[in-house]
């Protein structure tokens, strides 16, 4: 039960972090290449 909840939470935290990264990537200034 605890392991199941832990896996579930981890999988979702990865998604939350991914969404955060997407927003950051869109907003950041790339500067000159």
């Amino acid at each position: 039960m605890i392991v199941g909840t832990l896996i579930d939470t981890t999988l979702n935290v990865v998604v939350f972090a991914f969404i955060g990264v997407l927003v950051w990537l869109y907003l950041r200034d790339e500067g000159a290449s």
Partner: protein, 503 residues
């Protein structure tokens, strides 16, 4: 070849899965089902959100000022006339999946929904769910991938591969190259697994059709293997020579057969009932598409949750697995079109066709269930591979239409695998438009081995779980591509604002 780490890694990954499946089919099947169940129960909300936000993004792009941006240089014009282009999009939308699920899917949904709703509303709901699974979402997922490939290849002159937008748009940071490389790898992996899954499902259908035609009882596994071997010979041979024209001819024959079958059912079957059903289910789809787009069925009980995971969620992931493959083809034929034209054609034309197709095949299934003694719903649930043939038997010339269905399914399979081997070779050689025969042949063999592994599971549910396992990682790549594309549009496509445009 030895100095191409992407190709070697992709071949190794897919070969390991194929070997695992052939040597320990039950082990792979159990792993896929368990892993996919975990991913689906934890991330259903995210997968639906990605699929539905892609629909919003694609429609917004068409009607925003970016809709005028051309997929090519500003002075480029479309290579194909609009009619030829639309016909080719029809061809891209057709495939063995439509033949397999045309009647089986609505009937299977009905079997569950009828436990909660009375007959008529249950039929309507079953049709709405089927339409939802096959129309706008599928084509918006394909469209965004094709759009990204076409934009960077034809407007920016970059390689037409999946990692390109990441490399082009995010220029700062040491993570860019490895992430783009992983995106290329995951695209290859998703295509290979997705295509091999379709190959297995197609073999089930051809075997079901032959058994039906010749009244064969038992011996299904031997027949499946025989069909599979013939199929492998049929697609490996063309890979050794330049037969792109021949493949186009075969694909057109398959498409014509499928189209003729649909018209035959519409005209010879209960025409007015089918047309009533089509109009009704399209109306049901349009009125519920927003609700369905964000439906994840929490607190509906385990049966509904499993049904949602096995069908709608699985389809969304399946379309994502197919997206790089269909995307390359759609991008190639759409050079020179504006984003607005592109979206209107790529999203709406095949979607309308799917709605019509399921209206005809599903409608005939429900008509046969209501007006004949045939146990149609039971067959759809227990033997989906036989459903199309079973339903066709409700009309005259059932043997002929059954044989034509087998022929079309076989041709669709051959042409899909030949094209997939080409796209896989292209992606794994950095976007080469004419990849070496040797590499195409290696991919052909890998697809055959993966297809064999999936076929050995003997069950469409398990095949779909393995496909999902291959595609789930790509669910993360698609939003990344969308963000990269939006960022490039924002910084490099100076579009006139509304006030400027008016003056």
């Amino acid at each position: 070849m030895l100095n191409n780490p992407l190709l070697l890694t992709a071949l190794a990954m897919t070969a390991v899965v194929a070997l695992w499946g052939v040597l320990d089919t039950a082990g792979l099947a159990a792993f896929a089902q368990q892993e996919v169940a975990q991913q689906f129960s934890s991330r259903a909300w995210f997968i639906m959100l990605v699929a539905s936000l892609i629909v919003v993004l694609v429609l917004w792009l068409a009607f925003s000022p970016y809709g005028n941006v051309r997929l090519g240089a500003d002075e480029d014009r479309p290579e194909f006339s609009t009619v030829s282009w639309l016909t080719m999009l029809f061809a891209a939308g057709m495939g063995v999946g439509l033949l397999f699920y045309g009647a089986a899917e609505p009937l299977t949904h009905f079997s569950l929904i009828a436990q909660q709703l009375p007959g008529g509303p249950a039929v309507r709901h079953a049709m709405v769910v089927t339409n939802f699974n096959w129309a706008l979402h599928a084509w918006c997922i394909y469209a965004v991938t094709a759009l990204v490939i076409a934009y960077y290849a034809y407007r920016k002159g970059q390689p037409g591969i999946i990692g390109t937008p990441i490399r082009y748009s995010f220029r700062r940071g040491s993570w860019v190259r490895p992430v783009a490389w992983i995106a290329d790898l995951l695209a290859i992996y998703a295509i290979a697994i997705g295509l091999a899954g379709s190959l297995a499902i197609g073999v089930f259908q051809v075997q079901g059709g032959i058994s039906n035609l010749f009244g064969l009882e038992g011996g299904g596994d031997a027949l499946k293997l025989a069909v599979f071997i013939v199929l492998c010979v049929a697609f490996l041979l063309p890979l050794t020579m330049e037969l792109s024209r021949g493949m186009a001819v075969l694909s057109n024959i398959a498409m014509t057969i499928a189209f003729v079958l649909m018209i035959y059912i519409l005209l010879v079957g209960p025409t007015h009932a089918l047309m009533d059903g089509i109009v009704d289910s399209v109306g049901g789809y349009l009125s519920s598409v927003v609700r369905q787009s964000f439906a994840t069925f929490p607190f509906f009980g385990e049966a509904f949750e499993q049904w949602f995971h096995a069908w709608t969620l699985n389809y969304m992931v399946w379309w994502i697995a197919w997206a790089p493959f269909v995307g390359v083809f759609v991008a190639r034929i759409s050079r020179g079109r504006t984003i607005r034209e592109f979206v209107l054609g790529v999203v709406f034309v095949p979607s309308l066709f799917s709605l019509f197709w399921f209206g005809v095949f599903g409608g005939l299934g429900f008509y046969a269930a209501d007006n004949t003694d045939l146990p149609v719903v039971d067959i759809a649930v227990k033997q989906p591979e036989n459903t199309t043939f079973f339903v066709l038997n409700a009309l005259p010339l059932g043997a002929l239409t059954g044989a034509l269905t087998v022929a079309a399914a076989f041709l669709f399979l051959v042409t899909s695998v030949v094209s997939a081997a080409f796209v896989l070779s292209m992606f794994s050689t950095g976007g080469q438009e004419n990849p070496p025969v040797r590499i195409k042949l290696i991919w052909g063999v890998i697809l055959a081995a993966l297809g064999l592994a999936m076929m050995l599971t003997g069950d469409t549910g398990t095949v779909r779980a393995i496909i999902a396992l291959g595609a789930i990682p790509f669910v993360f790549i698609l939003p990344l591509l969308a963000v990269a594309f939006l960022k490039t549009l924002k910084t490099e496509e100076g579009v006139a604002g509304p006030e400027e445009a008016e003056t």
